[in-house]
Amino acid sequence: MRTDERALLARLQQRDDPEDWSDAWETLVREYGDRVYGLSLRMLRHPQDAEDATQEVWERTLRGLSGFRGDSSLATWLYGITMNVCLTRIDKGTRSRVVTTDDPPGDPHFDPSDGSPDAERCALSAEARVAIERALGELEPEFRAVILLRDREDLRYEEIAQALEIPINTVKTRIHRARLVLQEKLEAFRP
């Protein structure tokens, strides 16, 4: 765990100074809020579901803080909670518009970054973005989770295994298969 993360965690685990705790919490939310929401949106593929999931992630984070021993980085732990919340919601299938290979995305124009300042700077066209998001959405959720953690959040295989509580060999297999599937779908968008 990085030194700044360790310091932030220490502030979040103390109970003597509510004001400092509150500042630390705001730092955590500012630092990871967009990423937690972005992962939720790409997993659940619907803004309202992503908003609900994000709130649940923060609630679980709050409940879990005192028990978190810092075995992984704060980011890995947070992303683990995020994926757990999203995969559970997808499993339940009732509250989210689940996308699987059998059930292609309902919204053909789904673009999670639509309207974000980042989108305006992106070299990819809006059409390409929609197609890539669609390809991501067509991956099975477990495969989508590993590929997002690896290629978007830059987690190492061991960290993904920790976050998702799966064996590292499963991580390797899923990343490999997910990339093969994506590779076929993304051939049309060669730079």
Partner: protein, 154 residues
């Protein structure tokens, strides 16, 4: 190694190269590297992997809607309020005890209220030590008066 062996491990090999850890043995890594030097078809497969990874990385990051962030912040503020509540209750209990020790007053004040002014005791706020001395003095006077009264009688 065959092309099939290499393709099966290409993703782990590529990520290991990027992250400094392959999850493959050094022999396997070296064998894959040699094969890639010699095999244009596997090199092309690697290039395709690289392209799909870079396309995913190029995707813009969504920004959390403002109300979502505000709700998360509010969650924290409520928690911080709950954290300070027990301290406020302790402070209230201490304040409800007729005359607390000065040290206790300071300890509770650091959490529940601004630092107190330098201690100036009003008559109702005098510390217990002062009262004990007063009590003993009054007791001694009472005993003396009693002894004198009894002495006069006998």
């Amino acid at each position: 190694v065959t092309c099939h062996d290499v393709r099966d491990r290409l993703s782990a090999w590529r990520d290991g190269e990027a992250a400094g850890r392959t999850g493959l043995s050094s022999d396997e890594r070296a064998a894959i590297a040699r094969h890639l030097d010699e095999c244009p078809s596997c090199r092309e497969a690697l290039a395709r992997f690289e392209r799909s990874v870079s396309i995913l990385r190029e995707l813009p990051s969504p920004t959390a809607p403002w109300p979502v962030t505000m709700r998360a912040m509010a969650l924290g503020r409520r928690h911080a309020d709950e954290m300070s509540e027990p301290q406020q209750k302790v402070a209230a209990r201490v304040a409800s005890v007729a005359e607390p020790e000065p040290a206790v007053r300071y300890a509770s004040a650091t959490h529940a209220a601004p630092a107190p002014a330098p201690m100036e005791f009003r008559s109702s706020e005098r510390p217990p030590r002062f009262r004990v001395v007063l009590f003993i003095a009054l007791g001694l006077i009472a005993l003396t008066l009693l002894a004198l009264t009894l002495g006069f009688q006998f």
